[in-house]
Symmetry: C2
Subunit: 157 residues, 2 copies
DNA sequence: TAATTAATAATAATGGTTCTCAATTTTAAA
DNA sequence: TTTAAAATTGAGAACCATTATTATTAATTA
């Protein structure tokens, strides 16, 4: 992949270039444009560690460019989901949170019901048996989500 | 368990008696009351097959007792979740759906992303490795949710 | 350049859920 | 009983995350 990107934003680092290219490609195919707003939002999202809610991202984005409205953040996050860079999770209170998908190792979630901490894990055998279940039911697997709810070690004390 | 229940509603059948006792017990402990409204809502929920949204339940409830308001349905469904008779799922559009928990064999979900069909399945080894993951991270397992998204056999044609 | 198309910020609208409140019912106490 | 306290209700208002609308601006194309 050729990455000839004008490094006009001080926030872009090497590891983001590929993601920016992915968004660019997706936008081009959809006859959409990579605007400064969209790029800023992608950058902030990529820098954000963990599961991001729109409100969290919006606060950071406003520091960087106070003219960007929250509707644009929503619109752009939906684009990031469409092009496969982000995944949307629905929280129990009704909002959504977004996590990075590209260049992230696949993982599932352990969620503490007391302190809401999220621990990511991976188990190859669980993955394997998921495939088995899909085959048995004639499903073509696209994605999965596994959430284990419990009490974390800190909250047990 | 002693089940001496006045069978005043024609909708109660034997298999519901235990659930009604569970709700009763929970309400008693919480110093709350088993009202006719709450019982009607529980009955309709227990008769409902599959994942129920409040709006679905409300339509059926209104046929049975048009005076029951939707706020009461919401309040009661939250009670059913608290006492362990129901589980709440958050749908991607933001609403909630409820599924029965008591006397239901545990199962996970295969969800078709085209037609939204939900197929329930169970895999003992997946359960086993979940426990293993919890132990490894010091979590006390309370509950889990596994959703596999894909294209069902009918939608592949 | 002009014409077309896309994107934006601000704001209004949406819709599922919860809250408020006055009225009613149930329970417990006197 | 009678009375007081507590719980529950339906109706509708409020909430709030998200989406749609709109007038305006920016980018692209002819």
């Amino acid at each position: 992949m050729v990455l000839n990107f004008k490094r006009e934003s001080q926030h872009i680092n090497i590891s983001m270039l590929e993601e920016i290219e992915i968004l660019k490609g997706f936008l081009r195919e959809s006859k959409l444009r990579l605007t400064p707003q969209r790029q800023t939002i992608l950058e902030v999202f990529l820098e954000y560690d963990g599961h991001a809610e729109v409100e969290d991202l919006f606060l950071i984005i406003q520091e960087r460019d106070p003219t960007i409205g929250i509707a644009t953040v929503y619109r752009t996050m939906n684009l990031l989901v469409e092009c496969g860079l982000a995944r949307e999770n629905v929280l129990s209170q009704g909002q959504k949170s977004f996590e990075k998908l590209y260049h992230q190792s696949h993982h599932d979630h352990l969620i503490c019901t007391q302190c809401n901490k999220i621990v990511e894990f991976e188990h190859p055998l669980i993955e394997k048996y998921q495939l088995e279940v899909c085959r048995a039911h004639g499903f073509t697997l696209r994605q999965h989500k596994m959430e284990i709810y419990g009490i974390c070690i800190d909250c047990q004390k």
